[in-house]
């Protein structure tokens, strides 16, 4: 599958980032860039540091060395809400949804940063407060529509099956109208049809909204199919960086995976 996508300039630049926890080095001297509008995959064996890399990008972990430049601004360390307000949204490997809340409420929390009326307005729930709430409800419903989860919008998320929860999590991230979407194994644990659906959604997001996507994924066929460029990590170090076909043929990459090809 090849798509016509307007891939622009570098929007995110990771430079010489290292991350240690106590004595353990999770990331060593990682550098790569991400261009606006592309789908960038990060792959590697388990424990390679992929999730840690995403965590650095959105400020949850603070790199011990190096810096990350997003939209022209460099940060040695970023706070998570700064990252969120600048347009970085993400999903998590182990689903970090708010279990006690409904799908609709979860998606609405994705809009939280955009809701400005303070609590006094809300207590009154009058005029401008209602207007704001409804505006954002509409935006949330558009996302819900897009991901085809209307029927479960009033269901408490804790009760949903795994595949649907992952979709709701994606919806929450999308509701924030991000410029970069960080997806941590969005297809883990899904069967074939669910994976196809998820792929379609991710590509739709990229094509329709031009959202840049950084994606951690284990399924090689997915990676080959949908990504523009791939970064390969192993034991916290970068061992390859380029287009999918080049990376697949790279001997170091093959060795890292112990010669196991994923289909």
């Amino acid at each position: 599958m090849s798509q016509e996508r307007r891939i622009g300039d570098v929007i995110l630049n990771v430079e010489n980032v290292s991350l240690s926890f106590g004595g353990v080095k999770a990331l060593t001297n990682i550098s790569f860039d991400v261009r606006e509008g592309e789908v960038r995959a990060i792959i590697g064996p388990n424990g390679a540091g992929k999730s840690s890399m995403l965590n650095c990008i959105n400020g949850f972990y603070k790199p011990t060395e190096g810096k990350i430049t997003f939209k022209g601004e460099s940060h040695a360390q970023m706070e998570t809400h700064q990252a969120a307000s600048q347009g970085i949204a993400r999903t998590f490997q182990n689903i970090a949804l708010f279990r006690g809340m409904t799908t609709l409420d979860n998606v609405m929390t994705g809009r939280n940063l955009k809701m400005k009326k303070n609590f006094l307005w809300q207590a009154l729930y009058y005029g401008p407060a209602i207007k704001e709430e409804l505006e954002h409800r509409e935006a949330a419903e558009r996302v819900i529509d897009f991901l085809e989860i209307e029927s479960i919008r009033k269901t408490v998320v804790g009760r949903l099956p795994y595949g649907l929860q992952k979709r709701v999590e994606l919806a929450r991230a999308l509701a924030a109208e991000p410029e970069i979407l960080l997806l941590d194994e969005p297809m883990a644990g899904m069967n074939h049809e669910e994976k196809e659906d998820m792929c379609r959604y991710i590509l739709d997001v990229n094509e329709e909204f031009g959202t840049t996507i950084v994606l951690i994924e284990h399924d090689m066929s997915v990676v080959m199919d949908i990504s523009d460029r791939v970064v390969v990590l192993d034991y916290g170090e970068k061992i390859a960086d380029g287009e999918p076909d080049d990376v697949r043929a790279n001997q170091r990459v093959i060795d890292a995976y112990l010669g196991v090809q994923h289909d």
């Binding site: 959105n58 949804l97 708010f98 279990r99 809340m101 809300q122 407060a129 409800r137």
Partner: protein
């Protein structure tokens, strides 16, 4: 068949978001308000006002306050008594210092003072979580009550150490003080409850309510999507303490009339209010009210029911039995229905929607 939504379509988001989307619920609510404002005052006598209804409403208000903090925002607090005390003592000082000031204004100002105190004691919540936080709120509980006990300025140097509500009027009727009519006090307390409950419900369904619940459910994820934990938690402490402060003021001014700090200690307020929200339902305004009803009514029931069927319990025995029943009910609810009365009510409504069909 009576409680059906068939034919009630929502064509706008606004009607979907309403507090009572189902028409029958709206009728029911209207009925409840009519009963509260009209029927009960006609039928009730002084005993019912003083012993049952007024404390029920005041404690329901406090329960809503605690539920905001613990049920919605997930910050466990054992300091409810202390925050109520702040409201009460602030009202006392303001009212005695500025007697011409409208008493409702005084109540609201005391609420804000309580909110400020609540936010200060809420600062640790950034570092300290869950259960350790509960203990930190205990520090607030003991310390604040000690301050009100020891610093004589707070009770205007009265030798007995108690504060007494001075008589104040509203619209020409006495609403505080020993000569205020129970019915006047009843209306004041009821109105505060209705207004504040509405405000709470509004906040809960708005983005601040969602932010609170997000923090409760998974504060790390909340932080990552941009919800600021400190702001959100402090706001929860502030709003919650505001409610508790006003409740505390009403507790003394419209119910007890006078009290010492003991009235607000952990066994008399903090634990009972916590039980109200557990039994009634965490994260629910209706639940807070139901829980308050249960805990206020149980002692009355135990006082009046056994004699009605011929058993006479001594006061001591009755109190102990109450304690055992409380304990068992708490454990029961936590096991069987952690979401409390509120959930039972929702389930009942669900069944009613189906009735007379079983499913």
């Amino acid at each position: 068949m009576f409680y059906r939504e068939a034919g009630q379509f929502k064509s706008t988001y606004q009607s979907d978001q309403a507090i009572f989307p189902i028409a029958q619920d709206r009728w029911f609510m209207a009925l409840v308000l009519v009963v509260a404002y009209v029927a009960i005052p006609m039928a009730a006598d002084e005993y019912w006002f003083q012993a049952v209804l007024i404390p029920f409403y005041v404690l329901a208000l406090a329960a809503i306050g605690l539920n905001i903090l613990t049920g919605y925002a997930g910050q466990v607090s054992l300091g409810t008594g202390a925050f109520m005390a702040v409201g009460a003592y602030a009202t006392y000082k303001l009212s005695t210092a500025f007697p011409e000031l409208n008493i409702v204004i005084v109540f609201l100002m005391s609420g804000m003072i309580a909110a400020a105190v609540g936010m200060i004691f809420g600062l640790p919540s950034l570092r300290i979580k869950g259960f350790y936080l509960a203990v930190a709120t205990l520090a607030a509980q003991f310390f604040i009550l000690w301050v009100f006990n020891k610093v004589e300025w707070f009770f205007n140097y009265s030798p007995s150490g108690t504060i007494t509500a001075p008589p104040r009027e509203l619209f020409g009727y006495l609403v505080t003080g020993p000569r205020a009519e129970p019915i006047a006090r009843y209306y004041v307390v009821l109105t505060f409850l209705v207004v504040f409950a509405l405000a709470a419900k509004n906040m809960a369904r708005g983005h601040i309510g969602r932010a609170w619940m997000a923090i409760r459910d998974m504060d790390i994820a909340a932080e990552i999507i941009g919800i600021r934990p400190l702001h959100t938690k402090l706001l929860a402490f502030g709003v919650s303490s505001f409610y508790c402060g006003v409740a505390g003021a009403l507790y003394i001014f419209c119910w007890l009339g006078s009290a010492e700090t003991e009235a607000f200690d952990i066994l008399n307020i903090s634990f009972p209010v916590l039980f109200m929200i557990i039994i009634g339902g965490l994260g629910s305004v209706l639940g807070s009210i139901l829980g308050a009803a249960f805990i206020t009514l149980l002692p009355i029931f135990l006082t009046n029911a056994p004699p009605a069927i011929g058993i006479h319990l001594g006061t001591e025995l009755q109190k102990n039995i109450e304690e055992i029943i409380f304990g068992v009910m708490i454990i029961f609810f936590l096991i069987v229905e952690p979401a409390g009365f509120n959930r039972l009510w929702q389930i009942t409504k669900e069944k009613m929607r189906m009735w007379p069909f079983p499913y």
